[in-house]
Amino acid sequence: MSVSQVYTSDKRTMEKVKALLERVDITLDEHLDYTCAVFDEAGVPIATGSAFGATLRCFAVDPAHQGEGLLNEVITHLMENRMERGYFHLFVYTKPGSAKFFKDLGFSVIAEVPGLLTFLENRKNGFSGYLKKLEKKKLPGQAAAIVMNANPFTLGHRWLVELAAQENEVVHLFLLSEDAGPIPASVRHRLVREGVADLPNVVCHETEAYLISSATFPGYFLKSEEKILRTQARLDTALFVQIAAALDVTVRYVGSEPRSVVTGIYNEVLTEALPAHGIQCRVVPRRELPDGRIISASAVRQAIHDDALDSVADMLPETTLAFFRSAEAAPIIAALRTEQDVVHY
């Protein structure tokens, strides 16, 4: 039996794949870029699996055909397909009960949301290697953590870091590694590093694939339902707890989120879940300017999009402002202008 691709345009086959998934209580994700299936003689799908970016998900094998090694065929097919597209570090979402099948296929568990989801990667020492790398940068004293996208770095971010730096001996600042949107990760990171250079107790780290990445938290980048966002946020929290343990972090600072739905849900989940692991979660209110405008990176992107950088000059530190006024920023500004929607949902 062979595995073949199912095209989204092939509605009839897609419906059959959905029906197969529903039999094992799985809903087909809205965001997928590849789906494949194995068919029986009558053309009915008996095993299926899908992929999105570096993640593999939505697996099902017809109960009547279990034990025939169909999952192995589906995974082989998906792995080859992903590697052709340049994804070598792969992740799997599955129900906790099915994790053992993936462990036999060379995947190792990174984190689990009890009863809902297990998250695995195809490396033995991927996440543990990342934690070891972090441990080398551990510093003595009361430590806080902040995770930010800083798209781009504003005075609001700066204020949050400053506050944490005053209240703690060490601040571990995690910067999202994902290249999403017109401002490349290298530029975002540079602006943060320049913007906090004068704070000696701030250490910058990259999140790699392990915090708010399209692998752990695809909903951060693509519109998704609230229930899905909550599960993903809980998974992300489970990863953060392990990262916090590696660095002896006891408090996490987050900015309050009046506008973005996804960050709002994420903050809510963090506030609920972190205290159980001995980590305090401090939600710091957004900083307002004297005229009542709230500092936000979305507002800055919008202003650049509308060619009105000067209107948000009071939201940006010198370093960020200087960058966007330099010739180097021209291609990024041009890319921002062509974006339809620059505000984070």
């Binding site: 192995n72 792995m79 590697m83 070598f88 060379g106 490396r123």
Partner: protein, 100 residues
């Protein structure tokens, strides 16, 4: 041979194995998963390392997921992954020398 880019060979089906090679800097870093680890783990590891040595691969990250493959299969899959990772698999392969 020097590993230039990530490459993979093989499948996860029974009696086969999947070999993934990535460029490395710190000698051969082998990660092995096998359904017959307790019985044949050492033999599989030996075969993989010998094949890499024969092909003069010095630095590489090697991931092997074995599903009970025979030695000849292991050698063939490792060779194939090496040739793919140094862009030699699409040209005339120089059979005879180190490639058997």
């Amino acid at each position: 041979m020097q590993i230039l880019k990530p490459a993979t060979a093989g499948t996860l089906e029974s009696s086969d194995l999947m070999v993934t090679l990535e460029p490395g800097t710190d000698g051969i870093e082998l990660s092995l998963t096998s359904s017959v680890m307790n019985q044949y783990g050492r033999q599989i590891k030996k075969t993989v390392l010998e094949t890499l040595e024969r092909l003069e691969v010095k630095d590489a990250k090697v991931t092997v997921v074995d599903k009970g493959a025979l030695d000849c299969t292991i050698k063939a899959r490792v060779e194939c992954a090496v040739l793919r990772s140094c862009d030699k698999a699409d040209k005339n392969i120089d059979w005879g020398g180190v490639i058997r």
